[in-house]
Symmetry: C2
Subunit: 238 residues, 2 copies
């Protein structure tokens, strides 16, 4: 394998962060191989977004199916209701939308896919500034996971393995501002945990997203069932 | 949760190592919750063994299904033939039975299950003495994976998370000698990669197993299609 191996696998959830990480990685010269997960999530509509975004960038999407309802333990993979939080509360505790070890499982499967196609980089749109408080988005986790993959995989042992989290320390506003410059088709993305016809505008994921668009000074192109006051006030000032 | 939380999840493959690790963990006072994986493996017969072993010890087996043929990359999950090796060759390179990142994926799912049932210990029958050369059995991997799970899970963040590999530094002979004392029903276990009616007696997994029984000075109770010379010689001396 060439020393300058730019082949990478990216976890593409169809949301704002992973779509922006994808556009950034392409700009940075990676040969990007997106992977998405059908895991029995309430908002499996996000996979439709993953498909459209991959298509937009002319990339082949690997769709992996793993039914995490076999484990449960989250409002995203069981009948439990999605809990909403105020913008101030978000990130201060681990909410019930947390799917136990979900991103650890996804990174492991991404590593398996990476090994199989000869990639030694995994791109992970984790963010620890404007995030839901999920422990698997924190830098300390990303660092140890990278070391585990370096030690525990064939390609990691032979050539090394990197887990790159290019958005780790950016605010949601900074991510979106960058994404707009990179031409990310945010109208194709999906963030809402509820997965209805329109985004709910009330769940943690919608709130973080709308706060980000407000900070970026640009209205969110997708449709919402209802809008939080802070965002309505932002729209009125435009 | 009580400070003295002895609830544990164990990866039970139905083979010699995980079955022995299970018996040892019970003896050490863990409340053991075994999990097995139907991953599209050629030798899915091992899951039958997992069921029988869990039943033998009066434990409820969690059976998780994840189709790793979606990734491929191994002779165990594709049409590629299982390569055999001499006893001397085994462990010196990574063989084509290596399933990319398999145990990393399994440990991640075990962590998800552990979180859901409130366990903060994962027992992993990895061995790095008499092993097939898989990188995900090495102590350095186990250590980093433990750190990743501590940082990346809710239970790890709140209470800590341990990955215990009690057989890590034992030879196969030592494992089996211990297991015989612990009453492990080795007649119920399955190791062969080929997954036929009888164990093949030629694949790396059969060779390591037979070598172990020979070293333990006790004949293997399961049936084989053919026996390697070294083991035949051992039987003749009994």
């Amino acid at each position: 394998m060439p020393k300058n191996n730019r082949k990478a696998v990216i976890l593409l959830s169809g949301g704002v962060d992973s779509s922006t990480a994808l556009a950034l990685s392409l700009k940075n010269g990676y040969q990007v191989n997106p992977i998405s997960f059908e895991y029995g999530q309430r908002h499996s509509r996000e996979n439709e977004s993953s498909r459209k975004i991959a298509e937009h960038f002319g990339l082949k999407l690997k769709e992996f199916s793993i039914d995490l309802r076999q484990i449960g333990g989250s409002s995203l993979t069981s009948e439990a209701a999605v809990e909403d939080h105020s913008p101030e509360e978000i990130g201060s505790t681990i909410p019930n939308t947390y799917v136990p070890s979900r991103n650890i499982i996804f990174l492991s499967i991404a590593a398996s896919y990476a090994e199989t196609i000869g990639a030694r980089t995994i791109i992970y749109g984790a963010n620890s500034v404007d995030y839901s408080g999920y422990p698997d988005c924190r830098p300390s986790f990303v660092n140890y996971m990278e070391r585990a993959l370096q030690e525990g995989t064939k390609i990691g042992t032979e050539e090394g393995m990197s887990v790159v989290a290019p958005l780790q320390y950016l605010s949601k506003g900074e991510i979106i501002r960058m994404g707009l410059k990179l031409g990310v088709p945010y109208e194709l993305t999906w963030s809402c945990y509820r997965g209805g016809e329109k985004a709910c505008g009330r769940c943690d994921s919608c709130i973080l997203r709308l706060k980000g668009f407000m900070e970026a000074g640009s209205p969110d192109p997708i449709e919402y069932e209802s809008l939080p006051e802070f965002y309505q006030a932002f729209l009125n000032k435009l």
